[in-house]
């Protein structure tokens, strides 16, 4: 399970006050695949997930190319399907749109919820995301409180509570 392309890092999500060793393997463990090149945003998102009691694994691809390679690994059953995919639009090498399309075409994991998380509020970007099969389009908030609140929305998407 340590198979990863360059540009893909794995993190363990620890909800506040829970020991980590149990979290990753526990019944409620989730796996979230985040495609995001900006470590500042990735850091805030991780904080947000942990504040909303997500436990499990956060896999971060920092460019479009390695994201697509990682999806290839999902299809060849070398890694498990994530429970949720979060994609930024503006990415190095391959765009967030391409990653979204590739993810939706995945034979094995094509049905997982995909959230586009972008700083763009251009109508065209939102429309494109919906057309290409995104579950939801979220604009990255500027204010810290709103950003940290994103975890709640992800929780809703996953069906009320993390599995």
């Amino acid at each position: 399970m340590n198979l990863s392309p360059d540009g893909v890092r794995r993190f363990t999500l620890q909800s506040r006050g829970q020991p980590s060793s149990e979290a990753a393997s526990g019944q409620n463990a989730v796996s979230i695949f985040l495609v995001e090149d900006n470590p500042a945003d990735a850091g805030l998102l991780r904080k947000s997930l942990e504040q909303h009691d997500f436990e499990g694994e956060l896999v971060i691809a920092t460019d479009g190319e390695s994201a697509i390679q990682f999806i290839d690994l999902m299809d060849s059953q070398q890694v498990e399907c994530p429970h949720l995919v979060i994609i930024d639009l503006n990415l190095p090498k391959r765009s967030g749109r391409e990653v979204l399309v590739r993810m939706r075409r995945s034979a094995r994991c094509g049905k997982v919820p995909i959230v586009i998380l972008s700083s763009s509020d251009v109508q065209q970007d939102k429309a494109d995301a919906a057309r290409l099969g995104a579950t939801q389009y979220l604009r990255k908030p500027s204010r810290l409180d709103e950003f940290l609140d994103l975890g709640r929305i992800f929780k809703d998407i996953l069906g009320g509570s993390p599995r």
Partner: protein
């Protein structure tokens, strides 16, 4: 040939000769040495329009338009010269001038000057024709355009000064050469086609093509080629007028280049607008979120000043964000790729604007009333933007009473006149133009926040839709913003 002598008497012969001379088709007269007219025939009297009494016995000089000419003529004759084809201008009874060509000699007896023997040919028609011809030639010669004639085989027959100036060949060099000498290498093929069309009697009007000068320079010319017919209507050649439009072509190219540059800069603006909404927002979000995180997690260690500084950092970045957002809206309003193609209901735009302002309306206890609004040809979100900015301003610049804002529309052909009226602080009339300028603010940020772009955006949107926007206001009593949108044909 007169009948041979012997068949008529000398008297008869004399009468016949007299009749012959009197009724001859050419004008004849006798003039004495001092110029007195002794005799003239009928043709001469008819030519000038005088009766015998008005002509005979008068001096010939009275009837010449040019005194030096007749003096010279008489002197020559007195000296014993015979003159042939001597041209003179005679004055007729009706004041008109006739041109004549004079043949004359003196009849002498024993060396004594008896009278002249003067025969005058009327050459007035030829003279006039020559004059017209001369004038036409002068026009052709003075033309800036090349005027060339060619026969049906394409051989150049005439060549004017304009042609020499444009193509560089002199008349001697080019007359007799084939017209294809002038064609640009890639246009030689079109010559047979032009000649064929001419033979069919067609005229070729303002045909733009390429021609080559003597020194090989390629010119863009506009050609007009018309068939030349002889008197019987048979086509015998063609006249060709070539205008050098190389310069015009260059100007058109410059215009196309400028247009392309504008299109590019428009595309750049679009790109900027996209960046403003995305790439430029990104680092600002970092500043805001991480300053707030710093405050949240380490605020206690920074002390009260630290909290204040972080507050300013966040405020500054948020304001920058707002500016970028507004600048993008402004840019998109100026460069919007497409004009609206369908009518939208203005009341829907107003509803949406009010929805976006719900919080501000609630906080300020504002009351927004309206009349019926028409359908107009605009992008819905743009009209919404106009209402949102104007109503937003009415709320922001409110007086001590809760804002009352009235939105109305009235037909004012050929437009719809919209108005947004409020009871706010109003605008000093001297600023009523300036408020629409980009980044123009009348108040400090601390008093009234805002990017200073709202009204500039409104103006851009309204003008793009073909309308105008202005404000009427009395400080302390409120403002009314008016804008027009052209009515669409029903």
């Amino acid at each position: 040939m007169p009948p041979p002598a012997g068949m008529v008497t000398p008297e008869e012969r004399y009468r016949e000769l007299q009749d012959f001379i009197e009724n001859a088709a050419v004008a004849m007269h006798w003039v004495s040495e001092d110029g007195t007219i002794l005799w003239a025939n009928k043709a001469e009297l008819e030519l000038l329009g005088y009766s015998r009494e008005e002509y005979f016995g008068h001096n010939i000089m009275e009837f010449h338009a040019d005194r030096p000419v007749i003096l010279d003529l008489l002197n020559r004759l007195k000296r014993g010269e015979e003159v042939h084809g001597y041209e003179a201008r005679l004055r007729c009874r009706d004041g008109s001038i006739q041109y004549v060509s004079i043949n004359s000699s003196v009849y002498r007896e024993d060396g004594r000057f008896i009278h002249t023997r003067c025969v005058s040919l009327n050459i007035t028609e030829e003279k006039k024709a020559a004059e017209v011809h001369h004038r036409l030639s002068a026009i052709v010669e003075s033309s800036d355009d090349a005027i060339i004639s060619k026969d049906l085989n394409g051989i150049i027959q005439t060549w004017n000064a304009g042609a020499q100036r444009i193509f560089g060949y002199t008349t001697e060099e080019i007359v007799g050469k084939h017209i294809s000498t002038l064609a640009a290498p890639d246009r030689v093929d079109e010559i047979p086609n032009i000649l064929e069309r001419l033979v069919r009697g067609e005229r070729i009007d303002h045909y733009e093509t390429k021609r080559k000068t003597k020194d090989g320079k390629i010119l863009t010319v506009s050609l007009t080629v018309s068939p030349i017919r002889d008197e019987s209507g048979r086509i015998i050649g063609a006249s060709k007028v070539a205008r050098d439009i190389t310069e015009r072509g260059l100007q058109e190219q410059a215009l196309r280049d400028a247009n392309a540059a504008l299109t590019r800069s428009n595309a750049d603006l679009h790109q900027f607008a996209y960046s403003a909404s995305h790439d430029l927002q990104e680092p600002l979000r970092m500043v805001v979120a991480y300053s707030e995180l710093l405050q949240k997690e380490f605020g206690t260690q920074l002390g009260p000043s630290g909290a204040e500084y972080i507050g300013y950092t966040v405020q500054g970045a948020l304001r920058m964000e707002q500016l970028l957002r507004d600048l993008r809206t402004y840019t998109l309003a100026s460069t919007s790729a497409r004009d609206a193609t369908a009518d939208i209901d203005a009341s829907v735009s107003l509803d949406n604007a009010i929805k976006s302002l719900a919080a501000a309306i609630k906080d300020s206890k504002a009351c927004v009333t309206r009349t019926d609004l028409p359908c107009v040809r605009m992008h819905e979100f743009q009209l919404e933007q106009v209402f949102q900015n104007l109503i937003g301003n009415s709320i922001r610049y409110r007086g001590s009473d809760p804002p009352h804002i009235h939105v109305a529309a009235a037909r004012q052909d050929p437009d719809w006149l919209f108005s947004v009226q409020d009871n706010g602080i109003g605008i000093d009339p001297q600023y009523k133009e300036q408020v629409f300028e980009l980044f123009k603010r009348l108040h400090s940020i601390a008093e009234y926040p805002g990017s200073g772009m709202g009204l500039a955006i409104c103006q851009r949107i309204v003008e793009r839709a073909g309308g105008k926007i202005w404000v009427e206001s009395e400080p302390g009593r409120g403002s009314t913003f008016y804008f027009t949108i052209p009515r669409t044909a029903v």
